[in-house]
């Protein structure tokens, strides 16, 4: 029930909602996306660059290999100038701590600069969340925040692609943040957080 409500909120916020079994299925799903495929980029079987949040890539090193094997060029911005490494990267993947059914939001924790630039500078952002972390209400996210309160951190409830209505209240999608957001719910995540 929470998942249905979550889906409604996600779609109301102009994101795509997808349910997949696990990370492997996610990589296959993105590899099969014609928007990201060879037709569009016209370079044989090459797929675009994908940025992985450093915290995610470090927790699940197999993801780098998985995306690479699927033809993606993987960027993990953990160098001295992470922003330069992923400026305008077409695709990025982050893992959310939890999801909120009430608003269709995901809670992403991104403390290091490398993690932050991934969600800020990409054009299309894939937010991945485990099905069993969906909470009904915003208070569920408050619980997570309280558990982490007082420790340095940057946690964001994200709900859809960036948008503005500052000109004549006319809605425009895609301002400083991503233009497109996919919310991917993993129903039987294997490995994933357990490996972290």
């Amino acid at each position: 029930m929470g998942r249905e409500r979550f889906r409604t909120g996600v779609e109301a916020a102009s994101s795509r909602y997808v349910e997949l079994a696990d990370w492997g299925a996610l990589i296959a799903h993105l590899a099969a996306d014609p928007e990201l495929g060879s037709d569009r980029h016209g370079a044989g079987d090459r797929r675009p660059r994908v940025a992985l949040a450093p915290s995610l890539a470090h927790a699940q090193p197999d993801l780098v290999a998985g995306f690479t094997d699927a033809g993606f060029e993987v960027a993990v911005p953990d160098g001295d100038d992470p922003a330069a490494e992923v400026a305008d990267v077409p695709l990025a993947v982050v893992r959310a701590e939890l999801a909120v059914a009430e608003t269709g939001s995901v809670l992403v924790s991104e403390h290091a600069l490398g993690d932050r630039v991934v969600t800020m500078l990409c054009r299309r952002l894939v937010q991945v969340v485990d099905a069993d972390t969906i909470v009904d209400r915003l208070e569920g996210a408050a619980d997570w925040l309280r558990e982490h309160g007082g420790q340095p951190g940057f946690a964001s409830l994200m709900t859809g692609p960036s948008r503005t209505a500052d000109i004549e209240r006319s809605l425009t999608i895609g301002v400083q943040g991503p233009d497109e957001v996919d919310v991917v719910v993993l129903t039987t995540p294997s490995g994933g957080a357990d490996e972290a």
Binding site: M120, L138, L145, G153, V175, Q176
Partner: protein, 736 residues
């Protein structure tokens, strides 16, 4: 900053302002109402319950500010932030400049920060050789245009897309078709991206400070705030000390109401909780007082510190829709600006815009923290008067109110005016001769609204014992054996006598013995409205003494009922005896519609159905909805009891623009609000407009006459009296 008068004139002269803001307000109202209705359904609780819960959280913080500030400070410092409390804008500017200099920064990217506007930060930085760049799209547009925000949430809402396209063409030197908003947005992205990456300091505002975790909550839709926080090596947070909430769960309650009230979204795209700096970054949190402690200590305005800066109060404010935020407020716009400006920028800064409030009460109905804005505005207005910041118009008002307080003087004056204007009187209006009407000083008052006819004899003369005809009798006699004291309302008595006369006929037709307390004068509303609280108290006490007794008191003026029910107890709150008398009077006082629908005079269905089926439409006196909590009772009464077809009036509950002294002190504004109302009337294609308050009747009648429209405006009493058995259905009685 330019004077209020300059800002007011500039806004009136810009046709974009009114057209754009009216459309904005209508669009917002519809989508916000839908978003709130959805929330109420999902939560199974009313908006009132939800906002009172949030208000209680904020009140706790206002009462225990230091405790939460200390808790927040300890937690934020544990997470690596440097927290500094600053008392004044000067101190805040100095601190921020110093931080920039210490970091060797010459470029600052700014997320939206109202506090930075409040302290005039940009000017200060520029003088110190630091370039601030606004990164919120609306704020950036205004920075390019050399303007300031006109709205808390939609800073550039006063600008039409054509003007923004021109601006972009000039600044960026390429083509921008006005309809291609997407192109403008993308240009902002490109232009600002390099600034984000190059700047040495990022500055953000604050939506809430979470005491239990030391987190700064920041909401945004564009993503600019996140980038201002994350990318530069130094992050400065500016926050008013009232931004505190005790817990994350409390913050979520704010989230639930904030975006819905601001932009009708369930939640903004980003709701960020920033706790300390990221690795390799420094974070400075500046907590600004600038009058906030003084507000917390002043019971008249303390609740204004609940404000979460959603802008809803501006979005329903009819005068805001005419002149926009630059005139209506200072840095903080809308109704909240009329209150907090006095504390953040001084009483002089708050003085001018006071004349723009029409006291319609709409702001309080949508405020997500339930701030009693209308009463607070009246309190600040009274402080403005007490501080003696008099404008010429203000002095004239003071004199007028002093004269008005003397019943005999007022009576004499209005009778004399009635005699003098006898040759000019026709169809219920005074036809001002052209040579006079075109003179400056007269023109702006009569050009758009023909003055009412001034009768020689007030209603009280017509209603003397022995002057009354044998009443026509209704079949239903709910008031048989009941005595009703009729409170005429000073305005109707002398300027619209047909209204109380009709009300008396109606009450007698329903069986009442109608009495007229001779000493009655004025309930004190105009004086209270003008900030003259002492004069208001004198009048309200006099009214209470006059109407003392056990009988029902009925008035055809709903505004007097609102005064006696709400403002009078507030004015007399320090005197328990007076307060009790005021409450007793309020308990037995009705306006006509409440008396006939929910009071002892309840009439059965069809009681006033005389077969006349001419359709009508209804303007609801604004305070009927906002203060007296009525919705469609006039419409339902007309349908059920009079059997008439009522064509719904769009924006029926929005103020007509009379606003007591507003229509005299700011006639252009009043004319603008009236114009919006009459545009809605035109849409109904109906020839009879009914309303429940005499002030609205005179205002609408004058505006309709001046514009040449063929719509008859009637007070409910006048309309119903025409439907009594044997009544003469032609207009004009005492005033003809």
């Amino acid at each position: 900053m330019r004077t209020f008068e300059e800002r007011y004139r500039t806004a009136l002269d810009d046709p974009d302002v009114r057209a754009g803001l009216t459309a904005f307000q209508r669009g917002w109202r519809e989508s916000r109402d839908a978003a709130i209705a959805e929330l109420e359904a999902a939560e199974g609780r009313s908006f009132d319950e939800l906002r009172q819960e949030l208000a209680a959280i904020k009140d706790d913080v206002i009462a225990n500010g230091d405790r939460y500030l200390d808790q927040f400070t300890a937690n934020a410092e544990a997470a690596g932030a440097e927290v500094t409390r600053v008392a004044t804008p000067g101190e805040a500017n100095e601190q921020i400049t110093r931080i920039c200099h210490d970091a060797g920064a010459t470029l600052m990217v700014k997320g939206k920060s109202m506090v930075s506007e409040e302290i005039g930060l940009n000017h200060h930085l520029e003088a110190a050789g630091i370039t601030p760049v606004e990164t919120d799209l609306g704020e950036w547009i205004l920075q390019l245009a050399g303007e300031t925000p006109s709205h808390l949430v939609m800073p550039a809402i006063h600008k039409r897309k054509e003007r923004i396209a021109e601006l972009f063409e000039r600044v960026l030197d390429r083509e921008f078709p006005p309809d291609d908003i997407d192109r403008m947005v993308k240009a902002a992205r490109t232009e600002l991206r390099e600034r984000f990456l190059a700047s040495g300091v990022g500055l953000s505002g604050t939506n809430a400070l979470v005491a239990e975790g030391g987190s700064v909550m920041l909401v945004c839709n564009e993503g600019n705030n996140r980038m201002s926080v994350a990318l530069p090596p130094v992050h400065i947070v500016t926050a008013g000390i009232e931004k505190m909430v005790p817990t994350y769960a409390d913050a979520m309650k704010q989230v639930r109401l904030l975006a819905r009230s601001a932009t009708a979204q369930p939640i903004t795209v980003y709701t960020n909780f920033v706790t300390g700096p990221r690795p390799g970054q420094r974070q400075h949190i500046l907590l600004l007082d600038n009058g906030r402690t003084a507000m917390a200590e002043d019971p008249d305005v303390a609740a204004a510190l609940r404000c979460i800066r959603c802008g809803a109060c501006a979005n329903v404010c009819p005068p805001y829709g005419v002149v926009g935020g630059h005139a209506f407020g200072h840095v903080y716009t809308g109704a909240i600006g009329l209150v907090n400006t006095a504390y953040h920028h001084g009483i002089e800064a708050a003085a001018g815009p006071q004349s723009l409030c029409v006291s319609c009460g709409a702001c309080a109905t949508v405020c997500p923290t339930d701030i009693p804005l209308p009463m607070q505005i009246l309190e600040v207005r009274s402080k403005v008067v007490d501080a003696g910041a008099p404008t010429p118009a203000g002095r004239a008002t003071q004199l007028a109110i002093a004269a008005f307080g003397q019943r005999w003087l007022f009576d004499l004056g209005i009778r004399a005016a009635g005699v003098v204007t006898t040759p000019l009187r026709s169809d219920g209006v005074t036809r001002v001769p052209r040579w006079l009407a075109e003179r400056p000083g007269v023109r702006e008052h009569v050009g758009w609204r023909t003055p009412p006819a001034l009768p020689v004899r007030p209603a009280r003369d017509h209603l003397k014992k022995g002057k009354l005809d044998e009443p026509s009798r209704l079949a239903a006699q709910p008031l048989a054996g009941r005595t009703v004291q009729l409170f005429l309302q000073c305005l109707s008595d002398r300027v619209a006598p047909d209204i109380p006369i009709a009300a008396a006929k109606l009450l007698r037709a329903a069986g009442a013995d109608v009495r007229l307390p001779r000493a009655q004068h004025c309930c004190g509303l105009p004086a209270f409205d003008a900030g003259e609280q002492d004069a208001a108290r004198t009048m309200v006490r006099q009214t209470i003494a006059t109407l003392e007794g056990v009988d029902d008191v009925v008035t055809p003026a709903s505004s007097c009922l609102a005064m006696l029910e709400h403002e009078a107890p507030h004015l007399l709150r320090d005197d328990l005896d007076d307060l009790e008398r005021a409450q007793q009077l309020a308990g037995r006082t009705y306006d006509l519609i409440s008396y006939l629908t929910t009071g002892p005079g309840r009439l059965p269905a069809g009681a006033l159905d005389n077969g006349d089926r001419t359709p009508v439409t209804v303007h609801r006196f604004c305070q009927s909805s906002t203060t007296l909590q009525r919705r469609d009772s006039v419409e339902r009464f007309l349908r059920d009891v009079a059997g008439v077809e009522v064509v719904p009036l769009p924006e029926a509950e929005v103020c007509c623009g009379f606003g007591g002294s507003t229509s005299i002190r700011s006639p252009e504004l009043s004319a603008g609000v009236l114009d919006r109302k009459l545009g809605c009337v035109d849409g109904t294609d109906v020839a009879i407009l009914i309303t429940d308050n005499p002030g609205c009747v005179l205002h609408l009648r004058g505006g309709i006459h001046a514009s040449g429209r063929q719509v008859e405006v009637l007070h409910l009493a006048e309309y119903l009296a025409r439907r009594l058995p044997g009544a003469d259905a032609t207009p004009g009685g005492a005033s003809a």
